[in-house]
Symmetry: C2
């Protein structure tokens, strides 16, 4: 590491520590969190304040001693933009460094083509920018329900959108002024999980999200496992029944063939807009409700158990349409997991439902767009020095 990078490293450490603390913290507090000395932290904080990344509050007296000057991530000094491109809507969310919503836009309805969806998305980004015209933009992250090339530029396939090899980033870039910052596309499941990571920082868990299919993510000590192609954690095509039902993907016995919303809807012969809670009710008319829950629980449990065996994790978070029925299916899932997961021998497997914040993918995308600031605050300090706003 060059000595130049040391400062960058420490700036980042201070900013991260402040965010991780989750509450206003004094310079002295940051010093003990980062194990840097008080003078060093003072200097770094001064720079970060200068760059508009940290803000000071009024001194707070807490017991004896000089009152601390509370520091927190600065609100309203920059704009990070998240996009969500879904089958039936496109949403855009602008947040500042605190993660607070600055602006939000949505267009409902299915786009006729990828080009149209991209044009809509770009329009929303422009509107969100216009709501905060003076703020520099960190970047744009788009959540897409599909597979994305490792460099985050190309949507390889997104079945629900009917997209194949769509150059999303290039498309957005042609519609947007270059000051929009970096634009990157990421998988919606691996963005949704960021919201969950905020709730339980530095934990390790398996995240299972039911949307149209069944996706998920693997979180190891607070960071999302990417995998070779960027789709690690995709639980949907785990084989739970060799030679079983044929899945939409053409394979047999996939988890999705048994428990995806899509599969269940088809199985029940219902319309596409049934809520999952009603769906289970509907299904339980033909067979017994316990049986339906049993099928979901057992196949899901088996897939989870196999994943936990490989990863040696002991926490599972159920999200998406699995969250509302989590309470009901958990006993069966737990039973199956306990019966098959090795980790169950070392201690109980925790099966939890996710945070119920709406639009986790959208929020996660905005959250991801903020990341460069935490990773490299130095870039923002040089920017603050040259008020032109653009890096040379």
């Amino acid at each position: 590491m060059q000595s130049t990078h040391l400062r960058e490293h420490n700036l980042s450490a201070v900013l991260r520590a402040l965010q991780a603390a989750g509450e206003p913290t004094s310079r002295a507090g940051l010093a003990s969190l980062t194990r840097l000395t008080k003078p060093t932290v003072s200097k770094l904080v001064e720079e970060l304040i200068g760059a508009g990344l940290i803000s000071e509050g009024d001194p707070i007296s807490a017991g004896a001693g000089r009152p601390m000057v509370p520091l927190r991530p600065a609100a309203g000094t920059l704009l990070a933009i998240g996009l969500e491109i879904a089958a039936d809507h496109v949403s855009c969310l602008g947040v500042d460094l605190t993660g607070s919503e600055l602006s939000r836009r949505t267009v409902y309805g299915r786009a006729a083509s990828a080009e149209e969806a991209i044009a809509r998305a770009a329009q929303l980004v422009r509107e969100v920018r216009a709501d905060a015209p003076d703020l520099p933009v960190v970047g744009v992250v788009a959540a897409v329900p599909g597979r994305i090339s490792p460099d985050g530029r190309l949507v390889l396939s997104a079945p629900n959108l009917d997209w194949t090899d769509v150059p999303l980033v290039e498309g957005l870039r042609t519609h947007l002024a270059p000051e929009a910052g970096d634009i990157v596309a990421l998988n919606d499941n691996r963005l949704s999980v960021l919201t969950e990571i905020d709730r339980r920082p530095s934990e390790s868990f398996l995240y299972v999200r039911g949307s149209t299919g069944v996706g998920g993510a693997v979180v190891l000590e607070g960071s999302v496992l990417e995998g070779t192609h960027g789709w690690a954690g995709e639980l949907g095509h785990t084989v739970v029944e060799p030679g079983g039902l044929t899945c939409r993907c053409g394979r047999r016995g996939c988890l999705e063939a048994y428990i995806s919303y899509h599969a269940l809807v088809e199985q029940a012969g219902l319309g596409p807009e049934v809520r999952i809670e009603d769906l289970v009710d509907e299904l339980s008319r033909s067979s017994s409700r316990a049986e339906v829950i049993g099928v979901i629980g057992r196949s899901l449990g088996l897939a989870i158990a196999n994943a936990l065996n490989i990863l040696d994790l002991s926490t599972v978070v159920l999200s998406g349409y699995l969250a509302p029925i989590a309470e009901e299916i958990t006993p069966v899932v737990r039973e199956t997991v306990t019966a098959h997961a090795l980790a169950a021998e070392a201690g109980p497997i925790s099966i939890e439902r996710s945070d119920t914040t709406p639009d986790p993918a959208l929020r996660g995308a905005a959250r991801a767009a903020l990341q460069p600031v935490f990773d490299a605050p130095g870039a923002w300090i040089s920017r603050a020095a040259t008020p032109a706003g653009r890096t040379a």
Copy 2:
């Protein structure tokens, strides 16, 4: 990071770069590998030479320019000790920083008790130390075929050894002088894989090792995934047939119940000392050979496919008793994996056989015992004879 730690970081970076290079490298070469400047590398190298961690060779001329002074990890300057505790033998291997074998000892025969096995192991360690009495000992790593507590001190269970809750490290420590350095126990599968990592540094792959059971490891960019309890990658108890055969572990449908050496031997009604190649022959007398290969290949393939789906990897390495029959089973495994693994859509899944170096666990243990030197070379510099190398 404090500025004190910067030096440590860079010393480590230089030493690692030298090892990773795999061939003698000049100071200038290290500078470009580490992105440090030549003078900085020169200084760091000087320290490492003083500490006996790097050695200089005679200048080598390669084309134009001044000949380089080749640097390599120093041979015979320190001793790292690996232990392997198996059901029918205990082995001990001493290596230096280059990984070269300095000394090796083995005692065959099953120990009557854990205490006896530990006493044997300690004796071997003493003998290996006695073979190189002047070298400082980095530490001792013991490979154990079982589950080990996360702190590496306690063997929770090792079915083949008939061990439960054995305080291995404490036991070894009472037999050994404290200068033996840190003593740690680790799982044999996750140590075996280190040999494979040396062959393909920084790659990601799934390592599947057939021994008495079926174990494995997950390697992500050159580092072994540990998991919550330290047994990530254990493929043996993946469910490949829900409600299928009963496994030794009491569960049903585990991979091990189908393809472990143990299971196959039992299935064939043979003695315990059959070689795997003969075993397959033997089994093929009752049914057709293709059928036996088919069962192994399909169940293994299914387990691998599920693991690859979760982890998004595209390389598998077969090791242990799977290596000698790799060629035969690979077609079926590949077919099954390709049929079920999502990653197969992005490109071919590579299924390879492991390095055939004998005693991979023992070698891996010694390799792991070396790790502290690469992680923190600074500790060895202070130990070195003359830190008075400060030029005024």
